[in-house]
């Protein structure tokens, strides 16, 4: 679906991409990782036709620069930093839906699934929303249309655990028909979402590896934690994951999204000394059905 052939990008004398060649097919969920300045954002901008470059970029054999509309109508993009748009939420959805020939109601619905009621905020300027609300809206615009290529820069960074789970489920519904390119500084943030890892360093691909695709994107785990003693800092952290306590803050129960397990265990590791017991088991999802195009 996507071909990068010997892509070179220079800013003045600085060579930011040094002959990158990649091929990404439908069904590939790629983590594009690397430190700051590795060339991830530049590569994404070349893919979106926003940067001119040497070499050849194609999406389904089309040049994103010359056939912008055809290529970008297949692409759902979620940037890392939400743009400071002053237009109201309703206007932004109408504008995006109209450009993408999509039904704005689907975008409203996807935002609703993620826990953001766009109808209630339709007159609110986008820039005045919270970080999480902005992220949910941008995801809703990207997923609430017929996108075959999802390009996302740290897409779940600002989402609460429940919204993350819905987001992963929405991705799961797209995974067979779409290719995904998820950019992140840290592999552990996106590891369970992907089946391929591409690491960049100083404008070159230094690792391109397929990874075991064992975690269902839509899966959910039930978790029960027992503590040696109640701890306020732990209580605050675990409540953010949607857990509740049934026994004087010493026993906690809740659900975590399957692809979030590594991240969750990372959080728990900070409180390892407090843990007296832990159960983690696959659980059937009982929430609302995610609505995807």
């Amino acid at each position: 679906m996507i071909q990068f052939e010997n892509i070179v990008k220079r800013f003045g004398r600085q060579e930011v991409l040094k002959g990158v060649s990649l091929s990404i097919k439908r069904g590939h969920r790629v983590a594009l990782v690397g430190s700051n300045g590795a060339g991830k954002t530049t590569l994404i901008r070349c893919l979106l036709g926003e940067y001119t470059c040497e070499g050849r970029v194609s999406v389904d054999d089309m040049d994103p620069r010359k056939q912008r509309r055809e290529v970008l109508s297949k692409v759902g993009f979620v940037p890392q930093l939400p743009p400071p748009l002053r237009m109201p939420v309703g206007q932004l959805i109408r504008y995006a839906a109209s450009l993408c020939d999509s039904n704005p109601l689907r975008m409203h619905d996807v935002a609703g699934e993620l826990g953001f009621d766009t109808r209630q905020f339709r007159r609110q300027p986008f820039v005045k929303l919270s970080g999480g609300q902005k992220q949910k809206l941008l995801i809703a615009i990207a997923l609430g249309r017929r996108s075959e290529l999802l390009v996302m820069d740290e897409p779940a960074a600002n989402l609460d655990p429940e919204a993350r789970h819905i987001f992963f489920k929405l991705l799961a519904d797209k995974q067979e028909r779409a290719a995904m390119l998820i950019s992140s500084h840290r592999l552990d943030e996106v590891a369970s979402l992907v089946n391929r890892v591409i690491e960049m360093d100083q404008g070159m691909v230094v690792l391109d590896d397929r990874v075991a695709d064992l975690v269902e994107l839509s899966s959910r785990l039930h978790c029960r934690l027992r503590l040696i003693q109640a701890e306020a800092a732990f209580a605050k952290t675990i409540r953010e994951w949607g857990f509740s306590s049934s026994d004087d803050n010493r026993v906690w129960e809740g659900f975590i999204a399957g692809p979030d397990r590594l991240r969750f265990l990372g959080v728990l590791s900070r409180y390892a000394a407090l843990l007296a017991g832990m159960e983690l088991a696959e659980a059937p999802y009982q929430g609302k059905q995610a609505n995807v195009v």
Partner: protein, 276 residues
């Protein structure tokens, strides 16, 4: 074409909520209020009184303020949007660069012209109903056309600077330099250069005819000073070559063509360069 107007509309909505628009509108609206408050409509200068007198003052002040306001607000907001990531996101949506660029130009034109026009219409309404003065419709129409031409001209130049400069600060500096150069080549300074450097008069007149600010200034003078006495020797060349109506037509058509040319060059550069 539908996407072009959609982008223009989105840009209008964006701009109406921006702080620069509030300042911009307050300045032009406030100007009219100040002119009325100081009793300008009741004063008499060179035979002009009432609303005609007020409009003449307004147009002279607009000539000084509008170009720099349009230039600075355009380059700050367009180059600022690029820096802030607005271009990165909105240009990831399936829209042609032509629709995007010209949509922004038309949307921005509406926004920069609206407060100027509303202030002038507000003055006319205030004068007609509040002071029971006669509304000089011919003057109002002529000045509206001149202001359209001037706003479009500097918007086009502003869009060109925005596409060439890679940062908001550079764009703002460049816009200021452009305005300063045009200001330096207004007739009084031209006259000084002409005398000092022994330039042929035709060169000085040519420079005056190329400078959109001078063209606007001369055209706005023409209604209350048809022989262009205030302008000095340049007036002979202008009136001999153009005639009064010819120059008025030139003063409207030339800035529009110049603005379109500048925006067109800006678009060609935008299309071939890195977008965000």
């Amino acid at each position: 074409m539908h996407h072009l107007w959609l982008t223009a509309y989105a840009d209008i909505i964006e701009s109406l909520r921006a702080r620069w628009f509030l300042v911009y509108s307050t300045v032009f609206g406030g100007l009219i209020v100040i002119l009325f408050a100081f009793g300008l409509a009741e004063s008499r200068v060179m035979g002009f009184t009432g609303l005609s007198r007020l409009l003449i003052t307004y147009i002279q002040l607009s000539m000084a303020m509008l170009p720099i306001f349009v230039l600075i607000t355009t380059v700050r907001s367009v180059a600022g949007d690029r820096e802030a990531g607005v271009f990165e996101y909105l240009l990831s949506l399936p829209i042609t660069l032509r629709d995007w660029f010209w949509g922004r130009v038309f949307g921005r034109f509406f926004v920069v012209f609206l407060p100027v026009l509303l202030a002038m219409l507000g003055a006319a309404a205030w004068g007609a109903w509040g002071l029971d003065a006669r509304v000089p419709w011919d003057l109002l129409l002529y000045y509206t056309a001149l202001l359209i031409a001037l706003a479009w001209c500097f918007l086009g130049i502003g869009m060109l600077i925005s596409t060439l400069a890679r940062s908001a600060d550079v764009a703002q500096g460049a816009a200021f330099v452009v305005w300063l150069i045009l200001l330096l080549f207004l007739d009084l300074i031209l006259l000084g250069v002409l005398i000092q450097e022994h330039l042929p008069p035709e060169s000085a007149v040519a420079i005056a005819l190329v400078n959109p600010m001078q063209v606007f200034r001369t055209a706005s003078m023409m209604l209350f000073d048809p022989q262009l006495v205030l302008l000095g020797p340049t007036a002979y060349v202008i009136l001999d070559n153009f005639g009064q109506s010819g120059y008025i037509a030139y003063a409207i058509v030339y800035p529009i063509l110049l603005g379109t040319l500048a925006a067109g060059v800006g678009f060609l550069h935008f299309k071939r360069s890195d977008l965000p």
